[in-house]
Amino acid sequence: MNRTISVALPGERMFTRLATQIAASVAALVKGERENCTAADEFAHAFELAVSEAFTNSVTHAGQRSAPPSVTVIFLAEPKQLTVSICDTNAPFSIDTKAPDIESYPENGYGLLIIRKVMDKVTYRRESDMNIISMSKML
C-alpha cells in the first residue's frame, strides 16, 4: 500500500528546521515499521540531510517577492522505498552540477553532493511552472 503525506510550508529560512524534523520523523516511522532502531536512525538522518539541503535551496533561490512563496514537501511511502519531493515555483535549475573541489576550500556547492551521497535516487523535473526535486531511498 502506498501512503502519501504532504506539507506546505512558508519558503522562509526559519521553516527549514521544521521541514527537516518532519522528514526525520516520517522516515523513522516508515523505516521503524520493519527495521531496528539503529537502521531507522540512519535512514531518518539521510532524509533530514536531504530535505535540509533541498529546502534551503528553495528558500535561497526564491528571489524577491512580495510574500514568501510556499514550499511543498511530499512524502511517498511505497513498499520498497520512501521518496520525498520538494516543490517550489522558483526559476528552473539543473541538478547536473560538478562536485566542489575540496582542495580549494569552497564554502558552497556541497548541497547536491550530500543529497546524492545519502539518497539512492535523485531526479528533477519541471511541471506546471514548478520545480520538483525527488529523492528516494530504498527501505
Partner: protein, 116 residues
Amino acid sequence: MIITETSNGSIAIVALEGTLDALSAPELRNNRMVIDPDKMVVIDLEKVDFIDSSGLGALVGALRQKHHKTCGIILTCMNGHVRKVFEITNAQKLFHIFDDTMAAVEYAANQQGTGK
C-alpha cells in the same frame, strides 16, 4: 545555536550547541574568535546534533582564512551524524579532527610552539 567561548593559554576553545545549518551558520561566520586569522581555535562539536552543507561551508570558510598561517581550526567530539557529513564531502581532509578536546588543545599548543 549556542556558542560558548573559553581559552586555554593562547588557544581559543569554541563550544557549539544545537543545529549548524543555514539559519545558524551566519553566527559562526561572524564569531570573532573563529574568524580571527591569527588565532588557533579548537571547536568542540559534542553538542552539535546536526550539520548540513551550510554549517560545513561556514567551517571551511573560517579555515580558509587561516590557511597557510601558523594557526588553524581543530574540530573535536563529532557525533556519528556530523562525522558522516565530513566523510561524504571529503572535508575531513581539510581539518585536524580529535575525539578529545583537551588532547586537541595540547596538540594546538604544541603546533603553535613549533611554529607550524
